[in-house]
């Protein structure tokens, strides 16, 4: 048997005056490995039903259980305990967002930034096609690595620029989606989208430290997408 210690961030605004860390111990078979989410469910069911966290699909698709595990953001449902390489596991909510309770954060600011980039197709052609707007395989391929984002917020909440200016800097997740529509051959609002991003904060507060790339559970590269947006802004400016 092996013993794992979990130090988990606890805060219930109705009862606590300030947050605290609470320790739990979990015993596993020597060859047993669990996902962090499974461990959290086990702790909640067997030791402390008051522990609060979000989860839904438990297979890395819904993006509900973004957490900070041993200092790195990720999805609890697809993070193996063994991958954390420690017998002490520190679990905190995603950094930079207001905590509602325990590991549950208020995502309002994150969604506001997402909403800002108009994450939907805009096409102002007078006569819509009879059936659908076609794309060539090459045009469609430009959306790969962009559309897969599940909005778990792991990237934006690992970004210092988003921590300091969450109301002004769109953040890696929002900008990945912004480029997803800038790169879409069917979208006709490119100029308007670029106008909306051409200030000192929305895009240019990204200094390319690549924390977002480091933590993205889907293996996406928001920094690259942001680089493309900067290139588009620069090429129309010079």
């Amino acid at each position: 048997m092996k013993k794992l210690t979990f130090s988990i961030y606890r805060y219930n605004p109705e009862v606590d005056t300030k947050p605290r860390m609470q320790d739990y111990t979990l015993e596993l078979e020597d060859n047993q490995d669990l996902m962090v989410l499974e461990a959290l469910i086990k702790i909640k069911e067997e030791q402390d039903p008051s522990l609060a966290f979000r989860r839904s699909c438990r297979e890395g698709v819904c993006g509900s259980d973004g957490l900070n595990m041993n200092g790195k953001n990720g999805l609890a449902c697809i993070t193996n305990l063994s991958s954390l390489k420690s017998n002490k596991i520190v679990i905190r909510p995603l950094p930079g967002l207001p905590v509602m309770r325990d590991l549950i954060v208020d995502m309002t600011q994150f969604y506001k930034q997402y909403e800002k980039v108009k994450p939907y197709l805009i096409n102002d052609e007078k006569t819509p096609p009879a059936r659908e707007r076609l794309q060539s395989p090459e045009e469609r391929a430009k959306l790969d690595g962009l559309y897969e984002c599940i909005l778990c917020a792991c990237c934006s909440t690992s970004c210092p620029s988003f921590w300091w200016n969450p109301d002004k800097f769109v953040g890696p997740a929002g900008l990945l989606h912004a480029y997803r529509f800038l790169a879409d051959s069917r979208d006709t609002a490119t100029e308007q989208r670029l106008d909306d991003l051409d200030d000192a904060f929305s895009v240019f507060r990204c200094h390319g430290i690549m924390n977002c790339v480091n933590v993205c559970p889907k293996g996406l590269n928001p920094t690259k997408a942001i680089g493309h947006i900067k290139s588009m802004l620069l090429s129309r400016a010079v």
Binding site: W164, D196, D198, D199, F201, F204, K230
Partner: protein, 115 residues
């Protein structure tokens, strides 16, 4: 779009271009100055006067000071907007920094004028 008056450029793109263009001037000037110092060990006052008396060096130095003014204006503004959340305090610090940068620029101008 976020409207900001206290930065240097007219837009985010303008700031971005100015920041990099001024960085190129500052980096090349630093290399130029270090290279001259390496090539002229034991520099005397007469060497300094001769060096800075050259019209090309005067222009390059003024260009570098202008680059410093623009680069630091935008760069310090970026740092301040990250870390100083009180807008009155941030404005005051920005004001002092910009004045200091102009002092450097004018000091450089008058020193070069006199060489």
């Amino acid at each position: 779009m976020v409207k900001i008056a206290s930065t240097f450029g007219r837009s985010g793109t303008h700031d971005y271009i100015l920041l990099r263009a001024s960085a190129l001037i500052l980096a090349s000037y630093a290399v130029f100055l270090i290279a001259w110092l390496v090539c002229n060990p034991g520099v005397s006052y007469a060497d300094w006067v001769g060096f800075f008396g050259h019209i090309g060096v005067k222009i390059y130095t003024l260009l570098a000071l202008t680059g410093l003014l623009i680069h630091a204006w935008i760069g310090i503004w970026q740092v301040l907007t990250d870390y100083v959340k009180n807008s009155l305090l941030r404005g005051a610090i920005q004001y002092v920094v910009v004045i200091a940068l102009f002092v450097y620029w004018f000091t450089g101008l008058f020193v070069l004028w006199g060489v």
